[in-house]
Amino acid sequence: MALSDSFKTLRLDSVGRAFGAMQALHNFSIEIKRGEFIALLGPSGCGKSTALNCISGLLPTTSGSIWLDDKRIDTLAVEDRGFGMVFQNYALFPHMTVRANIGFGLKMRDVPKEAREKRVDEAIRTVRLESQAHKLPGQLSGGQQQRVAIARAIAIDPPLVLMDEPLSNLDAKLRLEMRQEIRRIHQSLGSVTIYVTHDQDEALSLADRIVVLRDGMIRQVGTPEELYKRPASLDVAAFMGFRNRLSGQNAQMVGQHDVRFSACGVALQGVAMAPHLSGSVVAAIRPDDLVPVAAGEGLAASVEAIEYRGHDYFGVARATDGTELFFRSTAPLATGLSIALGAEPSKILVYPGETP
């Protein structure tokens, strides 16, 4: 692991990429320490793959710079960066055996045969593919192909492993297994992993830090817990599972951190996500935190649909002002039923309202 030990930080300094007049990535700046697992999270078209390709060198940047400690790398050709990359469709060489695929990068580096074989054996062991080593990629299952792709990327001891939605082609069960596997491999390498995904569960469970991107710009950088509990903006909140969005009026701060406001004619209290909130605000609530309460103590709504989820029910209701509300219920409710929905004040995040 000579290479991985030889650096401390990877720094992206206002990296940008434009396609003609379209700016796909703006001012992307972040400092990543060795050993960190970073997830780039965002909806499709947000610029996360562009960011990854700029780091790998497959896509030239149009502004900014990338540094490995004090060595500038964005001016190097792809072949000279020496980063491991795992592609969404694996991109295994179909005419080479698993061993030859994994050894390809070492061969390109003119590693002597003996050392190469040893390193390939190690990589094969790391991804647990000992019995498949002499097969062609076409003879492997999707999950096994993914492991080969990972082994091929890590065999060259890269300081940085880049993964572009590596699990999106796998079925749900395999995705969960491979998630643990990727985390384990990352820890055994001690290098930096940058992982692109649109699945917040994946990002939350894998990453040390998550970078949320939207329209080519960084919206928030934080630990999974920070992002889950305190999304900095409504956008990020929506992406982190706060599906309910409620317009409120007459907001007034209560102490430093709480805010009182009215929505659909009911007085509510929530956590202020910006200082000095007043006037119109928007409240964000997770469906799991919004539950039926005693009449008069919450938002009046009528049930539109209810769906069995195993341990509880997931419902959709319409509030008096027409807002669609997603909620959780412990009992099945008849459609058309009038109910009241409420949430703990600590679970209601209040953001400044859109300025008219």
């Binding site: 790998s56 060198g57 497959l58 792809v78 072949e79 000279d80 960066r81 020496g82 980063f83 491991g84 990359m85 592609f87 469709n89 694996y90 991109a91 295994l92 060489f93 179909p94 005419h95 390809f104 990068g105 390109m108 580096r109 062609l136 990629p137 076409g138 999707g142 192909q145 091929r152 990327a153 060259i156 082609n169």
Partner: protein, 295 residues
Amino acid sequence: MSDASIPLSVRLKAQGLDGVTLLVLPAALLLLALFVYPFSYGFILSFRPKDGSWLGNYTKFFSDPFLYDTIKTTLAIALPVTIMNLLAAIPVAFRVRLMRHQRLITTILVLPITLGTVLVAEGMLNYFGPQGWFIRTLTLFGLGSASSIKLVHNYWGVFLSLVITGFPFTFLLTLSYVSGIDVALENAAATLGARAAARFRLIFLPLLAPGLAITFCLSFVQAYSVFPSAVLLGAPAGPTRVISIAAYEAAFEQYDYSLASAIAMIMGFTQLAVVIVVLMSRNLFYRGPAAGAKG
């Protein structure tokens, strides 16, 4: 023994025979009438020479250098032309693959196909002829003269015309094979440290080889059966007396259809021999799909 309770039509369908199968009939009949029958007829005719002996035509062909040398002459034109077209088509296909206006460029490159060999030959006679623009321009710049450079009525005339009419065909086939290779494979090889030359040698070439072999065969067969340009642009009495000219002379100048059939058969089998050698070499390479993964 099949179960009698299942109707015959269902059992036939399970074997792949149903109403849709009948759609094959017109093509099958056409093939029978236009290929199988004439071919068999010619094959049998070639064993009935004028002198009455069984193999008379074949002994005649292989004992007369004026006849058997045509094989060498034809190969000497067809093989270099095919190799040259293929070698030229690969880099062009690699470049065009990455272009945004691929359709336009392909259309321009393919135009010569639509012109037909005779029209191209006429054009070449004017352009490359002693009074043509090509020689005039060279003379103007003092790079040569009509007496030192001769590009028509010899080997090079036929060679050039086969390049002009054969290249678009070779290029189109090559392009389809080249674009069939997943771009991610090249990207993956690059991230692993492979430079352009290594990427071509280790990734593209092995994956392209089977397709290039097919392209070679089709282009070769086309060049081997050269006739109009060998007559119009070549020296049909000598250096470009290709095998099809020998067959033509036997049939329409000596009115010996039996000998002409024998020459046609020899032409077919020499072609086949080259094609078989090339296709066999294909087995040395990987022949599965050239994608990076299952769907």
